[in-house]
């Protein structure tokens, strides 16, 4: 009974206030949960955090002092609380490998990943959406089959392998693109860092040489990530479009005498636009993940390389810090697509 009463009170709050509150609480719960998981992983880690700091030869007193200084004697939940407080202050600990605060490291590495994932997603959108629409419109024809084949390969090929083969062919044999890394060595540090994304920074500095060199380096890894993105986007676009093309308002549009192009783009496509935003956000998130392996192949100094190299040197603070940041970006992308959905779809406004 009591429970019902509470529910009624909650529902009596006007939706304009209620909706954002419930969304916000979902975000907070998800983020805290996310941090709890990384916290627990950090606790399970067989590497002793005290030993990692004081070293093997420290005395028992030194060890104990650090143990207490790290707060490891307090109950787990209290430790978690301090961990939360730290994270919200941007304190993710200090990396053993680089000797810098993890937060600073990530600020330095993240733009490289973003640059890669953004260009990949742009490729995915530009190629994937028209391909998906075409496959849906020409359903069952050879175009549809080819689109399906392209997507199937995207779902089946290991990204690190296609990266290697790509390097072999386009860099090793054909010499069309730059090799691993973001720039050739003599172009490095020529333009001041503003955004951390070299393509943008070099344009801001008006240095076209750096820009074209950076472009020759990014084009292959970004195309490979773009391929994965387009495989996903084209499949989703196709199935959304098929759903719309079967609906009655499409028949009604044809009854009015509209051309096929108009029926497809003005009527059907406009209806899937909002769904596509979610797909693009998901695909962007997927590329952040795919960049972990791609970055290693292409020696790309991004967050993926950072996490994996830290991992191999048992630098747990860095690994967990990276994981937290990527996880938070995931959550933010979800929230962003949700907000865009509410703003853009007239049906969601009620």
């Amino acid at each position: 009974m009591k429970n019902l009463d509470g529910q009624r009170k909650w529902l009596s709050i006007p939706p304009i206030v209620r909706k954002p509150i419930s969304t916000l609480s979902t975000i907070v719960v998800t983020m805290v949960g996310l941090l709890f998981i990384t916290f627990i992983i950090g606790r399970v880690m067989p590497v002793d955090p005290v030993l990692a700091i004081v070293g093997e030869r420290a005395s028992q007193e030194q060890y104990d002092a650090t143990y207490i200084a790290l707060g490891l004697d307090r109950p787990l939940l209290v430790q978690f609380f301090y961990y939360l407080v730290d994270v919200f202050h941007g304190n993710l600990g200090v990396s053993i490998r680089t000797g810098l605060p993890v937060f600073e490291d990530i600020k330095r590495f993240f733009p490289a990943t973003m640059e890669l994932a953004t260009i990949g997603t742009i490729i995915g959108i530009i190629v994937g959406i028209p391909l998906g629409v075409l496959a849906a419109v020409k359903r069952g024809t050879w175009i549809d089959q080819i689109a399906r084949f392209i997507a199937l390969i995207g779902y089946s090929i290991p990204v690190f392998w296609i990266g290697l083969v790509g390097l072999l062919i386009f860099y090793g044999i054909l010499g069309w693109v730059g090799g691993p890394g973001r720039l050739d060595i003599f172009y490095e540090d020529l333009v001041p860092q503003v955004t951390g994304m070299i393509l943008i920074d070099s344009l801001l500095a008006g240095d076209l040489d750096v820009f074209s060199n950076a472009f020759s380096h990014i084009v292959l890894p970004a195309s490979i990530l773009g391929y994965y993105s387009l495989a996903y986007i084209s499949r989703m676009t196709r199935s959304f479009m098929l759903e719309q093309l079967n609906s009655e308002y499409i028949t009604a549009a044809r009854v009015k005498g509209l051309s096929e192009a108009r029926v497809i783009w003005k009527h059907a496509f406009r209806n899937i636009g909002v769904q596509l935003i979610t797909v693009v956000a998901l695909s962007y998130a997927g590329l952040l993940e795919g960049s972990v392996l791609t970055e290693i192949i292409f020696s790309w100094p991004g967050i993926g390389s950072y996490i994996t190299t830290s991992l191999l040197s048992a630098d747990m603070a860095a690994v967990l810090g990276g994981t937290v940041v990527v996880g938070l970006v995931f959550v933010c992308l979800n929230v962003l697509s949700d907000i865009l959905y509410r703003l853009l779809d007239p049906r969601a406004k009620q």
Partner: protein, 285 residues
Amino acid sequence: MSNLVDVENLWVRFPTRTGLFDAVRGVSFSLGKERLGIVGESGSGKSMTGRALLRLIRKPGIVEADRMQILGHDVMSLPEKEMRKLRGRDISMVMQDPKYSLNPVMRVGEQIVETLSIHEKVDKKLARQKALEMLEAVVIRDPERVYDAYPHELSGGMGQRVMIAMMLIANPKILIADEPTSALDVSVQIQVLEIMDKLVRERGMGLIFISHDLRLVSNFCDRILIMYGGRIVEICESGKLDQATHPYTRGLLNSMPQLDHKNERLEVLNRDPAWRDQESVSGLL
């Protein structure tokens, strides 16, 4: 050549896993300057007949006919571009449920104007003016508000009136109404039908009214084709329904309660498989 529509021996077929399924089987009829009803149960092929006329049967479906003419144009051989000019401007269709047949993310006004602007060269202002007039013609009291509304903001009855406005704004000579009120509340059904009927009469249009409801159709039509199993089983003048002879028509009539006759028990509609094999009755004029 005075007929608006002539259809001779129309077949609509769909390939299925077990072979071809015949949805419409050799139907012939004409539409003069009249209001023609097509009545039958679901699956009788009545909707398919309407869509075949607009050449909107989707791909795996096959349409065959000895002759199918709209205002003298041969629908079977007309190039798609010419066919598009015919749709909306000469022949149009009001569909069943405005909830699904109006584009959910386009404003109502834009959808109405679109019909006009692809068939005529009109500037924006005039198009808006005409759309508002059309909304008024379907008895919408505040056309300005509805013009800027999205379909989900309208009631079912309103939506269907918008649909009628959208389909009639380019002044077509023929209107197909495919179950135009069966998705609506009973309270607004007659209202919507009367609005549609009034417009059809005023503009001297031909009407093909497709429905499962024989009594309803008889109120709004001059002549009624009764379809069963993809064929026309009987043709009646709407005033002479009581003279209908086919057992299916009789069954449809008797399975409805009537106030002026006292019936102890309503009849159950018995279907005789033999009806499917009978020759289709010609509705040609």
